[in-house]
Each structure stands twice: as C-alpha cells, then as structure tokens.
C-alpha cells in the first residue's frame, strides 16, 4: 500500500522530534530515566488493558446467546463484573505505587554535590552558583553547567510570574513560583548539551525562554567554574577597549554586571563571561559578534516585549560594544 506523503513526512517529523537533546523518551539523566520507565510501564499496562477490553468486546458481539437459565447467567455476570472491578483496583493500585516510588527516587537526596539557584525572569534564566564564600559565588544566564554523574540540587525561584523548569532529557518538570523556593534533582549520566524550555506560559516571549544544560566530566566542570569565578578579562583589541568605555558610559551598565568593571546593574543578565556562552537572549541566537550586534541594535524586533531597551548608539559604538561583548570569554 502506498503511504500518503503527508502521513509519511509527519511520521518522520514526529519520530525525529523524540531523539534530540530535548526529549523525555530519550533520557540521559537518572530522574528522567525513572520517569521514562514509569511512563513506558503505564503505557504498556494500559495498552494491554485496552487490547483485552477490545477482545472481550468483539467476543461479546460475536458470541451466541447462551442457553443457560436466567439464574446461571446472572451468576456468571456477577463473577465477571467482580473480577473486572478487582483487576481494575489492583492495576490502579499498582500504578499508584509505581508512581509513588518513582517520585521518591527523583526526590532531593540529603546531600547533593552541588546546589544551584535558578531564578526565572521574564524572559530569561538567572543561574547562581552560590558558595559560602561570597568571593567564590558567581552568576551566569541561560546556561547551566553540571558535572556528570553527580547529584545537583536546583533551587527554583521566580521574580515575576510562574515559570516552569523543564529539561526533558535530564529530569521532570518543576514550577518556579514567586515568593517560594522549589527544588529539583538534576543528574546527567552522560556528557552532552541538553536543551530546556520554560514549560509554563509566562507572557509574550515564553517561546524564547530556553536554556542549555551542559553536562561535562567533573574536571572540565571545575575548570569552567574556576574560569567563571574570575573577573572579566581585560579587552585586548582597540575596538573592544573602546567598547568597554562605551558600555560603562551608556545605560548598559545600569542593568548589567561585568565583574571587574564599574558595571554593576542587576536587572539584566550578568555579562561577565557572556562571550563564553553558547547562546544569547535565552536561546534566541547563537553567540557571535554579528548576533550580539543585532541584538544590541534592536532587541525589540528580535524579541518583542522583552525588557531590554533600544539604546541609541552610533554605528561605531555598536561595533565596539559587540566586539567587547564577544571578547568577554
């Protein structure tokens, strides 16, 4: 039989959508694996039940009316219905217990190797790697690095509306609610870049509120953390030097922090190492000098409604500031 090309292509699209770095059925982290097991278990049980019901239905339609007396038929019926109700109770209880154990397994362990605070904001993720020593505390945005094979405790907070933290390949979904702190266990079993997305409609740019979770071996993670803790690198090239001067003089510095310079605003993302991140504007664009310039020149066209204003800059200032941003590795 010839398959219609539309069905064929949509099947491919659907299947390929399940294998990427943002997929609950292609889990790469312990909590996500537990959830995937629960999911496939429940699907298998429900499929079996559905098939049984269908078989029974067909059999009931096709069978001849039995010759047994009224009383015998009534007795048979009572037995069947009681058995079915009993089976239903057992199956639902089984699924409840399975779901209870899964929830327990994905809960926060007493001691996590690393605790990160993720604060949802319209429309980006503020990521704080807090340390008892304030000098070792650092911040990043829309990019979370975690060591492979370690339990990471993520504390979820929100400053404005309800957001939801969801990295399908690594863990379940958890809401970020203003005024309270929620917790989530994140653990990657394999190194990789996993994409996450805000999963609770949070306003105009909900679509463009993505993050990257980068799982790497503990040594690379430690190297990365040491680099992030450091102040921003001093710009070397003349255009980046001029860009730094313009950045501090313009309203940029009122909202953004670049550690090691007078720029200490806290409204927008910390830009101390913005050039080292994979994406800008919460997964909107890849970090390149061109995309940085495009973003700075006209943020309201690329992501309408976001809180970054269009700062009037001359073309030379724009060129220099984007060179400076790119140099902040």
């Amino acid at each position: 039989m010839r398959m219609s090309p539309i069905i064929w292509m949509s099947t491919i699209a659907i299947i390929s959508g399940c294998t990427g770095n943002q997929s609950a059925i292609n889990p790469k982290g312990a909590p996500a694996i537990h959830i995937a097991h629960l999911m496939s278990g429940i699907v298998a049980v429900c499929t079996l039940v559905w098939l049984l019901v269908m078989v029974m239905l067909v059999w009931a339609l096709l069978r001849k009316r039995s010759d047994a007396g009224e009383q015998a038929r009534e007795r048979g019926l009572t037995t069947t219905v009681s058995a079915a109700v009993g089976a239903t109770a057992v199956i639902i209880a089984g699924m409840t217990i399975a779901s209870f154990y899964t929830t327990r397994d994905i809960g926060i362990p007493g001691e996590a190797a690393l605790t990160i605070t993720v604060r949802g904001q319209q429309w980006w993720w503020q990521v704080i790697y807090a340390d008892p020593d304030p000098a070792l505390t650092f911040q990043t945005a829309n990019e979370i690095h975690i060591p492979v094979g370690r339990d990471v405790h993520v504390q979820l907070e929100s400053t404005d509306v309800v957001h939801s933290f969801w990295v399908p390949s690594l863990a379940g979904k958890q809401d970020l609610v203003p005024g309270r702190t929620n917790s989530l266990l994140l653990r990657a079993e394999r190194p990789g870049i996993y994409r996450g997305q805000c999963a609770e409609f949070c306003g105009l740019q909900h679509t463009h509120m993505a993050m990257m979770v980068i799982a790497e071996d503990p040594e690379s993670f430690e190297r990365w953390a040491v680099a992030q803790r450091g102040n921003s690198v001093n710009p070397g090239k003349p255009d980046a030097v001029a860009g730094q001067v313009a950045f501090i003089a313009k309203p940029c510095a009122a909202c953004h922090t670049v550690r090691g310079t007078p720029a200490m605003g806290t409204t927008g993302p910390d830009l101390t190492h913005v050039g080292s991140r994979k994406t800008i504007a919460a997964g909107l664009l890849e970090t390149t000098r061109g995309s940085l310039a495009a973003w700075i020149a006209d943020p309201q066209t690329l992501k309408p409604g976001n809180n970054m204003p269009m700062v009037p800059l001359t073309s030379v200032e724009l060129k220099n500031i984007s060179a400076y941003m790119e140099s902040l590795k």
């Binding site: 400053t159 404005d160 203003p178 003089a249 313009k250 309203p251 510095a253 009122a254 909202c255 409204t267 006209d298 309201q300 066209t301 309408p304 409604g305 809180n307 204003p309 269009m310 700062v311 009037p312």
Partner: protein
C-alpha cells in the same frame, strides 16, 4: 402557527449569537494596541521637549501629541514604568510613592509641577537636594515611562489605564484608584525643611 413561532425563535437565537460574535470581535478590536518598538526617530524626538527656564513645566515634543500621549495613557507603558520604579531603586528615597529621604508624590504637592515634562526633566537631569540624574543610566523612553508612572501615582484623578499588579504586598491603595487623592485629603503638607526652599 406553531411552526411560525419556532422559525421566529430560531431567527432570534441566530441573530443573538451573531450579535454576540460581532460584539466580541469589536471588543477585541477596541483593545489598546501595544507599541513594543517605538520608531527610533520618535524616540529621538522624546529628548526634544522644551522646559521653562525656571525648570517647572514646559512643552513636550510635537510628536508626543501626535502619538496620543502614550506615556500617560497607555497601560503597557505605565506598567513598564512601574517596573522601572523598582529596578532603578526609586523606592530607596521615595518609598512606595509616599516619600522617605526624598519627597512624596502623594501629598498633593509637586515641587516642580505635575506636568510630564517637569517629571521627565527631574529624572533625566536630576534636581537640587539629592535627586540624581538618570541621563546615563536610562534611555529617554524609559525615563518617559517612569515619569508616566510617577505622575499616575500622584494624579488627582484616577486614570482609565491601569498599571500591572503588585508583585510584592500592597502598602497603599493601588495606582488606578488615585492613591494621592485618598492620602492627601487633609490638604498639602508643608515643605519638608530638608527639601530646601520651595522653588
């Protein structure tokens, strides 16, 4: 006879549904449009207001009237102004609008008058006795948005456009209830001696 009545009923029901649909469509069309990206020439024009030589009152740029005074009447701009009020630390001196180290907006007394131009000039260029200039920290559009919000909380009559809701607990009547009117009923308070001479 009976048939005629059902037909009439049906017609009535259909026209009622039609009217409802059209009404909903009309309400949607009436919705205040949200201008997220103001044209750069219009933005540049926002700096070209004329202030009286004594620093009180003046004339906004012509384009401001052509755009129907968006920073005073537009709910989106007022809401952004409210967020800027928090983000730029206005509350450090002005509290929730009732003042602390800085003057109150809700006592019925405007040191430099309640016109947008005065408020914009106060924010942009600063004022004597401690008000800093935000010229280098905010864009001119943000200054107009913030000024619109400050004017709203101190307004003598409530505006039709409302700001966004509070993220924190409520400390005074909300903006669209004209908190100033409720709070300065006893009449304007005298000038705080620390504020310096009345201009």
């Amino acid at each position: 006879m009976v048939r005629g009545r059902t037909l009439a009923n049906r017609l009535l029901l259909t026209s009622a549904l039609l009217a409802l649909t059209v009404g909903c469509g009309f309400l949607g069309w009436m919705r205040q449009p949200r201008e997220l990206r103001t044209n750069p020439p219009v933005l540049a024009d926002l700096s070209r207001f004329r202030l009286m030589s004594n620093g009180i009152g003046g004339a906004p740029p012509e384009s401001y009237f052509a755009e129907a005074e968006p920073y005073e009447n537009d709910a989106y701009n007022l809401s952004q102004g409210k967020r800027l009020y928090t983000w730029f630390g206005c509350a450090a001196c002005h509290g929730d609008g009732r003042g602390a180290a800085g003057p109150s907006f809700l006592d019925g007394w405007w040191l430099y008058g309640p016109e947008m131009v005065s408020i914009v000039a106060s924010i942009r260029d600063g004022r004597p006795h401690g008000m800093p200039a935000f010229r280098d920290r905010m864009t001119i559009e943000q200054i107009w948005q913030l000024a619109g919000y400050v004017q709203t909380i101190g307004a003598y009559s409530a505006k039709v456009a409302a700001t966004g809701r509070n993220d924190g607990p409520q400390t005074r009547p909300s903006e669209n209830r004209a908190p100033a009117v409720m709070l300065f009923e006893e009449g304007p308070v005298g000038v705080n001696p620390d504020q310096g001479p009345s201009p």
